[in-house]
Symmetry: C2
DNA sequence: TCCAAATAAGTAACTAGTTACCCAAATAAA
DNA sequence: TTTATTTGGGTAACTAGTTACTTATTTGGA
């Protein structure tokens, strides 16, 4: 009887709120922590330069939102942004000493919040939820790929 | 490997985006449509006055966010707000002629978006997803009830 | 009865998200 | 080679969300 859109919005807000409390210990917000985690994870898994563009596509977030996020992360000293030598349109994003290899810690905090939210769910239910969420995200990825006219 | 918080944020954004397209036909945003749906649904299911307070608790949204949302819905002529005669601190919210009984239509649009997002999921998987989301929302409701010190 | 605590709603200032528009650099075509 | 298109990033203006603070009304206790 409660619309699905409302459920998702409530879960999203509750998740962000819980993660905000953990992120505050580093002087960050939940969203900033999540993006920092993505930068650190990409840095650990690819040799390529990381561009703002990549983060926008990964998080399905608009240009200006990512611009402001990265400006805040840079001003707080968690990332560095320099123009690419290969193509000066691109902004190359790297972690600083302060945030190098931080993705494991951030992933652990994400899992803690997930566990808190799923208090009453069995291990099977949690796994099922992760699987279903993956499938939907994959659908969304697929759709945005097939409509590049924008 | 993708953190759950990121999955939820991506799904939430995709849902809002799809619903925004439908809501635009009425000159509303997805969030405004959702709140209007809640007002209309409460109006149809209870005899009590509907207060801003009730909507904040239902949607797990902060005071100021709801204040601004209701101001926009009122200025667009979709709801009316008057102080309660019983207790003038309360704001009584009602649908206008324009929005009376609109909750069924809004729920149908929500279900359409849900179906689009779940394109590749079986009926069992969709039902399972709804059930899991309900359980988490219930957990969140429970927690916020047990910590009223704020 | 009067004053203090509780509570509904509003305001200020901020982060996060959107669309729509601008600029600069690279690419491709004349 | 010069011009036009494409593409990455930035800016403006808005909605939506947050916390922290203020205001006003009701309630309850001295």
């Amino acid at each position: 009887m409660m619309p699905f859109g409302l459920k998702i919005a409530i879960i999203n807000r509750a998740f962000r709120k819980k993660l905000d409390e953990k992120a505050a210990a580093m002087g960050l917000t939940a969203v900033q922590l999540r993006v920092l985690g993505s930068v650190s994870r990409l840095e650990a898994t690819t040799e390529d330069e990381i561009h703002q563009n990549d983060l926008e596509r990964l998080e399905h977030v608009s240009h200006p939102a990512m611009t402001k996020l990265l400006q805040r992360l840079e001003s707080k000293g968690f990332i560095r942004c320099v123009p690419s030598a290969r193509d000066r349109r691109y902004k190359v994003i790297t972690c600083t000493e302060r945030s190098a290899g931080i993705h494991n810690m951030i992933l652990a905090q994400d899992e803690e919040v997930f566990a808190e939210l799923c208090g009453t769910l069995s291990a099977q239910e949690r796994a099922s939820l992760q699987h279903l969420a993956d499938a939907i995200v994959q659908n969304i990825d697929q759709e945005t790929l097939s409509e590049p006219e924008n």
